[in-house]
Structure formats: C-alpha cells, structure tokens
Amino acid sequence: MSATWIILGGSSAMARAFARALAARGDAVLLAGRDLDDLAATAADCRLRGAPMAEAVAFDARDPAGFAPILDRLAETEGEISAAVFTGSMPPQVEIDADPGLIDGVVADSFTGPARFLQALAPLIEARGRGAIVGLGSVAGDRGRLGNYVYGAAKAGFHTYLSGLRNRLGRSGAHVVTVKPGFVDTAMTWGLPGMFLVAAPDAVAQDILRAVRRRRNVIYTPGFWLLIMLIIRHVPEPIFKKMKI
C-alpha cells in the first residue's frame, strides 16, 4: 500500500521536486505551507504524475495553534504516514544584526515550528510502527559562520532534535533521516555570488528517496559535501574564528 506524506514547506523547489518523485512512485502527498495557490498547483501536478491523493493544506511554522487540523487529517488516513520538513528561512545576516528580533522567526521556521509539529506527529507514527521522517538540515548547521550563523544555529538545533527523534522512533520501527544539502539550485541561491557545484533539486530529491529506502541516518547531498564539511568541522576554532567563509 502506498504511504501518505505530509510535506512541510511544500513550496520550496526541493520540496516540489521531492513531492513529484513521491507522486511518480504512487504515494499520496499533503503539501503544507502558506502559499495555498502555489501549493494547489503543485498538488494538481502531483495528481497528474500519479499520486492517488495530493492536496494543499495551510501551515505556518510560526503558528503552532494551526497544526491541529493537519494532525487530525493525518490521524484519519490509513496506512503508513511519513513526513518531510523543508521549512526554513534565512534573512541576510546584516538584516538580523540590525534587528535581532528577526531571530525568533528564523528559529521558528527552521527549528521550533517543525519540531513542535513533529513532536505532535510522533505518537501517530509510532502507533503505525513504520514510516519515515525526513528533516532538511543544512551544512550551515555544522559550524557557525560569519555569513549566516543564526540560520546555522537554528539548523544545528534541528539536527540535534532529529537525532533524538531518530533514537526514539527507531524503537517503534519508524525511521528518521537528516538531510544536509549543500548549494542547491533554487530561488534562494539564484544569482548569489560564490555558488559552486550547485545541485539540481531533482537530484537532491532522488538522493533523499534513496536515503529513505536505505534507512540512512544522516546524508549530505550531493555526497561530496560530506568531505567538505569533514574538513570544515575539523578546522581548529582558533583558526576558524579568523576565517571569512
């Protein structure tokens, strides 16, 4: 039987590619986010590509009070339930420096909002005894960098949360995959200076699907980022703090 996936942050290019890949293999998808017009278009596309069910649902990471209808909806679906989290926001660090209040939103979008949702979803997935949770982290979460350390800190928190959730859900037969993408060719990176080896969202989606199938714990995508981050993580702090990368 096909699974039902709830996809948080369904308007991002990576989420769209992932939803299509799921649709093509016959899974049902609920696309959650704020831009309902856009999500409805993606849902229609997923249905035409083979999803037995695809719908848009309203979700705002900063408004946990609004999560209940989605959770109720999922509780009513039969069979395997899986979730993928693509939410996150990254205002330029200079804007955050000017207005520290922005930190709350970044943390809510990238960490606490999805964590609250997953925390409420976890018992349901445990009860079904299978399913996957895919959490989009970031290479930015591996080390605090001058350019985006607030976003990086939120993602680091999310990484740790996912690691704990993996520990918990593994006991019930479900599985949690942490995905750390490098540069992906999306609206977020379009035209930014300093981008290199930019990956296509479709390639990332295929990497994620493979990781789910093989029950991988943490993946970098594209894979070579594992190496890059291995080096970056091992630069001693006295040196790292002077680097501008």
Partner: protein, 435 residues
C-alpha cells in the same frame, strides 16, 4: 526577484550572449516581474532565438507544473515551462499524448508555442499551435487569456511568434487520445533520393520520418532509412538509462571519414528487407534525449543546424541542396528528411506543405559559407528556413520566406510597443521592422 548574469547559448553553442536572467518559481513571482525581457525555455533552439545579449530574459523552466486535466475533452492545462517529454510520460499511461511533439522531450510548452513546432506527424496533425485551445499571456498591461476565437490576431501572432507578444504563463493543450504504451516502428532502407521522396510521399502511418545519409553521393545520393510509427498497447520494453557527455569532444570526433563510416553502419543496421520493432515511446519520439548534453559531442566551437522547407514540386531544388551538403564533406550523421503537410498556426510558423530537410554541421570555418549558400538556394526555390535552427540568415531574406511578416509586425508592435521582448534573433533579422 534576483537577476542572475550568465553567459548563455542556444543548443548549437556556436553563439553566446551575456544575459540577465530571472527565474520565477511561483506564478505570483512571474506576475510581479516587470516585463522587460522575453521568456525563454530550455534553450533547445539552436541559434540566437533564446538569447538577449546585454539585456534581460525570464527563464520559465521552474514554472513547469501540470495544472488540470479534463478527460472528457482531452484538455490539459500546464504552466508554460512544462517539458513535452514529461507531459507525454505522465499522460501516456492514461491513454493521451500531446498532439504534436518535437524531436526533443526537453522542449517546453512555451518554446513549442514560440516556434509553433512540428513533429513526425505533421502531415496529418499539423503544427503545435493548432492544438492550443487557450493560453494566459503576461503582457505589459497585465495578464490576458487568449483563445483563437476571442483574439485571433494575437493568438496567431503568438504561435511561432518568437516570444514577441508577451510571456506565455500557462497554456491549455488539446491532447490526442492514443493507446500509447509503446510505438510499433517499421524501418525501411531507401537506396536513393527518388526512392526516399517517393517512400515518404506514399507513407500512410501516423508518424513518418526519414533519416538521410548526408554523406552519400552519386547514385546513393539521398539514401537513408524511412521510419513509420504507430502508437499501441503492449509490454513496455524498459528504456535504457540516460547517459551524459561529460566533456567537449575533440574536433576529429565528427570528421568526414568518421561520419562516413558511421553512416554506412547506421544504414546497414536495418536489413535490406526492412524490419519492425516495438519501442518505448520516448525512444521513438526523442531518440537523442537519452544522451544528455549530446551537443558537447561537437566540441567547444559548437555546431549549426540548417533546416529548410521547400514546396512539394521543388524536388529538383531539394536534390541540389542535398548534393551540395554531400559534396561538402561537412555534414554530421544527424540529418532528417520529412514530408510536411500544410498545417500552421501563426504568421511566422515554419511549416508549409512540402519537403523539410534538417542537417547538423560542426562549426568549422567552411560551415557558415556553405549554410549561407543553402539558405540562398532555399529562398530561390520559394522555401524558408526555420528560426528555431537558424543563426546565419540575413534580414533581407526574410520577407520572401515569410510573406505574412507585415501582418505579424503590426500585431506585435501593438502588443509590445516599447520593444522590451526583442531577442538577438529578432534583432539580427530585423523581424520587428519599423512598425
């Protein structure tokens, strides 16, 4: 929306241009864009049609979703960046296909409209634009829904209109019902030019195309293989994995002796008595798509394609063109001959009743003068060259080839009075004129 400055090229890679690109991912991002550059798709046009050197262009490839399908009427609404091959792959299992498909599945619906493309079924089905029921056009005055009934002028000026009337945001396509898991293909050798034309003329299949050995001379001039295809149901043979050309090939890869040997083998591969095969639909419609970036086989300098269509009674002139190609020793193995019907949807549509010939040439020094000569012969024979392939025609040659040019200019001048949508091709050929 951020603009990205990039050096881009058409599929032939012989001409490059620095262009500022926006790439909206959502419809509202597109709507919010000031219209100050033409739309471009997957840049599968060979020359300068999808370029705007020193200016801006809107990359439509991320607005690529299928939005709704009405199975009663066979009407599929899509975003203009949707690729034809993906539409075919999604709809074929439901028993539908795009009514017209060009030879690459990577072409977007917007690009198919901008060039009013034709397929292997042109003799029966006509051109792409004849199966467009409606489209949404982003114009300087805001979005407009265009149908051939309500706005026949703007509709026609947009089909084959090279992006000059506005940005097509979505389109509704009339699909054709087709039991289409597979294609039954009959391949037959034709030994010379006359037999080639006669076989194409007599072919009754839905899909017909001739591969022509553009290196064969003398009595073998014009020999090739005629393929006839019909869609059908059956066990689908698995499609092989796509491959990629990782680097630019060295110049000798497509030198004359290599091409001659390759063509000989390709010709002999089909037994003299012909054969019938069952193929996955992608393999038949988009044979080259299995090798991603195959244009790199032509090396860094890229290549040109020459494509013309000549009236049905101009067989002798066509033979002279094939002869000029064959004796030049410059042709690549990619050469196609087809019988076209009269179907066309726009003022500047390429298709016309008659014979169409397409040949690729590596961009060597002698290629451009040869192609210019071929264009001259085409004009003399009352034919025309295809804007999707051209990079060498001259402004003075266009009016003779496209008699409806003036009507088109008038409509386009009203649709884009400030000339914000001009492309390098439109500039080179002065297509917009003084209107």
């Amino acid at each position: 929306m951020r603009w990205k400055t990039a050096d881009i090229a058409g599929w032939g890679r012989a001409i490059r241009a620095r262009t500022e690109l926006a790439r909206p991912e959502r419809r509202r991002d597109l709507a919010a864009l000031a219209l100050d550059g033409p739309a471009i798709g997957m840049r599968r046009s060979y020359g300068d049609a999808p370029l705007n050197g020193g200016g801006r262009a809107v990359d439509m490839t991320r607005l690529d979703r299928m939005l709704s399908f009405d199975a009663e009427a066979g009407l599929l609404e899509v975003e203009a960046g949707a690729r034809i091959g993906e539409i075919a792959a999604a709809m074929a299992p439901r028993g539908w296909l795009p009514a017209v498909m060009p030879g690459t599945g990577f072409a977007t619906v917007g690009g198919c409209i901008g060039m009013d493309v034709h397929g292997k079924n042109h003799h029966g089905a006509g051109s792409f634009g004849q199966h467009v029921a409606a489209f949404d056009l982003a114009t300087p005055d805001g979005p407009r829904r265009i149908t051939p009934e309500d706005a026949p002028d703007l509709f026609r000026a947009t089909m084959g209109g090279l992006g000059q009337t506005g940005i097509v945001a979505t389109a509704t396509l009339r699909l054709k019902p087709a039991p289409s898991d597979v294609i039954m293909v009959t391949e037959r050798r034709v030994e010379d030019f006359d037999e080639h034309l006669a076989t194409l003329d007599a072919a009754e299949a839905t899909y017909v195309v001739g591969w022509i050995d553009a290196t064969a001379r003398g009595r073998a001039l014009g020999r090739g293989i005629v393929e006839e295809g019909e869609t059908g149901r059956g066990l689908v043979p698995a499609r092989g994995k796509a491959r990629r050309v990782p680097v630019d090939a060295p110049g000798f890869a497509l030198s004359a002796p290599v091409v001659r040997v390759f063509n000989e083998m390709y010709f002999r591969r089909v037994p003299a008595s012909g054969r019938t095969l069952v193929k996955p639909i992608g393999d038949f419609f988009f044979p080259l798509d299995r090798i991603h970036d195959w244009n790199r086989l032509y090396g860094k300098r890229g290549f040109h394609q020459f494509q013309c269509v000549l009236p049905p009674d101009r067989g002798d002139e066509l033979r002279a063109i094939v002869e000029a190609v064959a004796t030049s020793g410059l042709a690549s193995p990619l050469a196609v001959l087809k019988r076209m019907g009269p179907g066309r949807a726009g003022h500047l549509s390429f298709p016309a009743e008659g014979w169409t010939l397409a040949v690729d040439f590596p961009n060597r020094t002698a290629a451009a003068p040869l192609i210019r000569r071929l264009i001259g012969k085409t004009v003399e024979a009352g034919g025309r060259v295809y804007f999707a392939k051209d990079s060498l025609a001259e402004a003075g040659q266009i009016a003779a080839m496209y008699p409806e040019l003036d009507d088109w200019r008038r409509i386009v001048a009203a649709a884009d009075p400030d000339r914000r949508l001009v492309t390098d091709l439109v500039r080179r050929l002065d297509l917009r004129g003084a209107a």
